[in-house]
Each structure stands twice: as C-alpha cells, then as structure tokens.
C-alpha cells in the first residue's frame, strides 16, 4: 500500500507541474499559430523551403545515430497516417475510430503481393492505396449516414473485424505468425535497404500527403468538407451533397493510410495483426486531435510529438505511460483546439475569444443536427 501512495503522490506532483508547463507552452503555441496565420504568402513559402531543406539534410546529420534516424522515419510515417485521418476527422468531421484497419489493409496487400508474387514495391504501393481506398468506400457507403458516436462504434467494429480476419484467415495471412521476409523496395536498380533510404522514401510520401491536403483544403472540395463538418444541414441547404463528400474524404483517407501501411510493410520487413489494433487507431486519433483538428501544421506537429514523447519518456520507464496519459488529458483541458488551432490559424488574433471551444465541439456537434 505504501507503494501505491508513493505513486499517487508522485503523479499528483507531476500533474501540477505539467499543468503549468502546458499553460506556458500553450502561450507559445498561440504565438506560433498567430505568426503562421499572419504570415504573408511569400514568407510562408520561404519558411516551407527552409523546413524542406532541413528535412532533406537531416538524415545526413544524424546518420551516426541509428536510433534517432529510425525514430524519425517512424515519426514521419505517423505524420502520413495522422494526415490521412485528418481528411476524415479534421476536414469532414467524421469520427472514425478504425483507421488502423486501412493502414493494415495497405500493409498486408503490399506484403502479400511482394512476398507471394514478387511484385515491385511501387506497384504494390499503388495497389495498397487502391484496395484500402476501396474498403474505405465499402465502409463509407452504409455507415456515413450515421453520426458521431454511432459512426465511431461502427468503425471500431470494422477495425476489429479486419484484425480478426488477419488473425484467422491463416491460409492467406498466416494468422498471428504474420508475414515475414518482405523485401526492400528498389528504385532505378538500387535497393533501399538502409534507414537513410527509408527516410527519404517516407519523406516523399509525407510531402505528397501534405501537398494533397493543402491543395484540397484551399479548394471548393475542401471548403465543402469544412461546411459539412460545421453544419451538415446548412451544407445540404447550400447544394452540397454531403454523403458524397464524406465518402470522398473516407476514400482519400483510407487510400493514403493504405500507402503508409505499404511503407510500413517494407520498412520492418514483417507484418502481423498486432500492428493494427484498436490502440493504433486511438494513437492516430490522438495525434490529430492533439495537433489541432483540420490544421495541417498542427496534425504534423501532433504526430511528431506523440511519436517522440514515448521515446523521450523512456528515462522514467515506470511512469512513462502515466505521464503520456496525463499530458493528453491536460492538453485537452487547457487547449481543446489542439496545439495549432485551425480556426486561430485562419483568423489570426481576431478570434481570441473563441479560441478553443469551437473546435472542441466539432466531433460532437454532428450528433445534435437532425
């Protein structure tokens, strides 16, 4: 019992400290958000070039630290995954909690094609995107009439069904034993075999995803997504076919998650059903919400922070996940809009008064309408 009391005291102290740390960080995030939000197009472009430049030379600087390099690769992979969920959750406002299913479909399609049929990675990558996207469509058509919590439950069910298929369809998936020996991708005769190669490969995929996200967000379709997210009834009254847009968001999100899965399969050379559990979906969901629903820089940051955090907390092994959980809770209380709030990003300083609360209701509002 003494032990438990000890743990509780330590956690309470940690809570208080973290509370103030996040309060201070929160001010910082506001500053960053305002700076990005008020940036002129030209400056913004320059900043993007600088970031891209840093990302391009980064692996050469850290190549002597394989652990850091590998963590970077994983972090960027989660950026892709979080951005893919952002289409569904951040843009179209649909609470999907089975996202790891699409990630898993991508991984298994690539594994099966590359191992059994010796198909090139690039074709497997595209096939993974198509198959995952198709499953996104299959899931989307019947379920997107559901709202909020009901949709969440259905998507959890879908994720579980997929995992059970992977476990039990032993003939094809080899069940819990998984599929080992997935070859490395080849490009122009070179084999991508070291971490630096994988780094550039996933970075390419991340650029592709950011590009699509950004083009989409600033187009009529992206604004249509946001309209459906904000108020589905009003969106329909404005001539928007909300079912169509929701399915589109689902298919896009699923296809890109499938590509991330495809990358994962060749990166670790081995897939098994345990990689694609419900917890995985929740982690991706946390990245999107913590980063800032719908906000592209926010989601990127969320994915990076939530990948690095558990690694950084290894030092306090015993309390690692307790602290991780505490951070999530406190963050959501103090900054419900996420690290980089999409609305603040757009409105600059003007909507200070509205800061957090509005983004907060995005997921739940879908229930109340109709």
């Amino acid at each position: 019992m003494g032990n438990l009391a000890d743990v509780l005291i330590k956690l309470s102290i940690a809570t208080v400290i973290l509370y103030f740390v996040i309060k201070i960080l929160s001010k910082g995030f506001d500053k960053i958000t305002d700076i990005i939000g008020n940036m002129e197009g030209q400056t913004r472009r320059k900043l993007i070039y600088i970031i891209v430049g840093i990302l391009l030379i980064l692996p050469l600087l850290i190549s002597r630290y394989p652990y850091i390099l590998r963590t970077s690769v994983v972090a960027i992979m989660y950026v892709v995954l979080a951005l893919s969920l952002n289409f569904v959750l951040g843009f179209a406002g649909q609470l999907s909690m089975g996202h790891s299913a699409f990630y898993g479909i991508g991984a298994y399609v690539t594994a099966l094609l590359m191992v059994n049929f010796k198909i090139s990675f690039w074709i497997a990558l595209i096939a993974s995107a198509i198959v995952a996207g198709f499953f996104g469509f299959l899931l989307g058509v019947p379920t997107l009439r559901l709202k909020g919590d009901y949709l969440a439950i259905t998507t959890i069910g879908f994720g579980e069904i997929l995992r059970l298929i992977l476990v039990n369809w032993i003939k094809v998936t080899r069940g819990p034993a998984g599929i080992p020996g997935i070859p490395s991708p080849k490009i122009f005769g070179f084999t991508i075999s070291n971490n630096i190669g994988y780094y550039y490969l996933i970075l390419l995929l991340a650029f592709f995803t950011v590009f699509i996200s950004s083009r989409l967000l600033h187009s009529r379709l992206g604004q249509g997504f946001i309209a459906v997210r904000d108020d589905e009834i009003a969106a329909e009254a404005m001539g928007i076919n909300s079912t169509y847009l929701k399915i589109l968001a689902f298919v896009l999100g699923a296809a890109i998650a499938g590509m991330a899965g495809s990358f994962f399969a060749t990166f670790v050379h081995y897939v098994n059903p345990d990689n694609f559990t419900y917890m995985e979906s929740v982690t991706i969901l946390c990245m999107v919400v913590l980063g800032g629903l719908g906000s592209i820089p926010g989601v990127i940051l969320g994915a990076i922070v939530l990948t690095i955090l558990p690694e950084a907390l290894r030092g306090i092994a015993l309390y690692r996940y307790a602290i991780y959980g505490l951070l999530l809770i406190l963050m959501m209380i103090i900054r419900p809009g996420g690290m980089i709030d999409m609305d603040r990003l757009k409105g600059g300083k003007k909507n200070e008064d509205f800061g957090g609360n509005r983004s907060n209701k995005v997921i739940w509002r879908t229930n109340s309408s109709k």
Partner: protein
C-alpha cells in the same frame, strides 16, 4: 408566370397533420409571405419546399419540374435557396468563406482538378470569388468580409446567411423569419434589403411574424392555421379577413 406551385400538399407526422391539403403558388418576381400563429405549419411547409421532408401526398412543381422527391441539395441546385430561422452559419469560416460555400453547387472542379490546380479549377474559382465579392458589396459587408462569421452581431449574421443563399444563384429565395430578434431599426433595414433583393430579379417567399414587415413589403400573403390555408390575397384583404382575425386574436364566443 408561376415559378412555384404546390398542389394538395399534405404532411402528417403520425396522427398529426402539420400541413393539410394546401394549394399555393408563387409568381415570378413576387414577394409572398406565409404567416400564421405558432405551430400553424409554416416551417413544415418551408421544409417541404426545400426537401427536408417529403410530402405525405401532393405535388410541388418548381419551374415546371416536380421537386418534392428531390434531396435538399438537389433542390438548391434547381434554384431554391433558403435561410434558417435560427441562423446556421459555418462557425469556423469567415464571412467570405461562408458566402463562397454558396458557390459550391455552381462550380464543378473535381478531385483531380483541384489537386493538379488545372486551369479549369483556377478560372472557375476566380469567377466564383468575383461573384461572392459582388454579393458582399451588395449586402454592405465589405468591412467584415474576413471576420469569422459567427463573431458578428446578429443582424449582420442574418445578412451573411442571405448572402450565402444568394451565392447559390437561386430563382426563388426562402427567408425563414429574417427579422426575428431584431430591433425596430434593424427591421426597417431588413425590409429595404428584401425589396432590394426583389428588385435584383429574385422571387422571395417569406415566413415572418412581424406583421408590420409582412404587410409593408408583401405582394401577396397566405395564412396558415392548424395546417390549413385559411386565406390568401393582398395584404390589406388578408388583414380584414375574419378567419385570419379569429386565428390570430381568438374568436368571440356567442
């Protein structure tokens, strides 16, 4: 010319008949008002026209086309736009973006167009922006165009909602209690705005409780009571109609 015609429209919810066998039409270029006590079925009738509900029986024609089986977004595309009794603006969008959403159904760039930013998408987007700019000027919202719409005062939010409806390029504009919650000054402004909209060539159907507003601008008034249309005609005729008076003020016994 009849732009909208409802023939024998009935809507029942279980045992309750909210709209009962109503015949109704709107001529092009008119301002027509639909009035009636609370619960008379006005909003239900509105929802029937805009496709939120499908009538239990009866037909609704718009520009010679049956629309009562269409979905709300299809009806908007055929040319009927609406505002809501309790304002429903997109809360994360600026005024400009809100009104821009109205242009969604008049633009057609698909996924490939927007990702590759094809010429089609860019040109179309530019045209839409110009149209929205004109609507913003028409409504006098220039100074708040980049503000988050839901942060504006009530009266301006109403105008943004009307702007968003106009941006769908409707033939018929449906306004659901546009003056609700407004003060006298704002009501006067709303009245002149509705006239201005009509003068631009739109046809307007109005649901409104404020009799001064209704009688001041309507070409025709239809009165609903317990789901039945009890009177229709010029404002001064309707005002004198005994059934209307009794519906609003109650009937004298004996």
């Amino acid at each position: 010319m009849k732009i909208l015609e409802a023939i024998g429209v009935t809507k029942s919810f279980g045992g309750l008949t909210a709209v009962n066998n109503v015949d109704f039409h709107i001529n092009e270029g008119e301002i027509v008002s639909l009035i009636g006590p609370n619960g008379a079925g006005k909003t239900t009738f509105f929802n029937l026209i805009t496709g939120v509900y499908e009538p239990t029986s009866g037909v609704i024609n718009f520009l010679g086309k049956e629309i009562h089986k269409l979905k709300p977004f299809d009806i908007t595309i055929t040319g009927i736009a609406r505002t809501f009794q309790n304002i429903r603006l997109f809360s994360s969008m600026t005024v400009f973006e809100n009104i821009m959403i109205g242009q969604f159904c008049r633009t057609e760039a698909n996924l490939a167009n927007v990702i590759f930013k094809t010429k089609k998408a860019t040109v179309e987007q530019e045209k839409a922006r110009e149209k929205v700019q004109r609507i913003i000027e028409f409504l006098g919202l220039e100074s708040v165009a980049n503000e988050i719409a839901t942060s504006l005062p009530y009266g301006e939010q109403r105008r943004v909602e009307i702007g968003r409806a106009l941006a769908t390029e409707p033939k018929l504009l449906l306004l659901d209690e546009p003056a609700a919650g407004m003060n006298t000054q704002e009501k006067v402004e709303m009245q002149s705005l509705i006239r201005k909209i009509r003068d631009e060539g739109y046809t307007v159907l109005l649901i409104e409780h404020d009799m001064k507003l209704v009688m001041g601008i309507s070409d025709r008034v239809a009165v609903l009571d317990y789901g039945n249309k009890i009177a229709e005609g010029k404002p001064n005729e309707v005002q004198r109609d005994e059934r209307v008076i009794s519906a609003y003020l109650g009937k004298e016994v004996g």
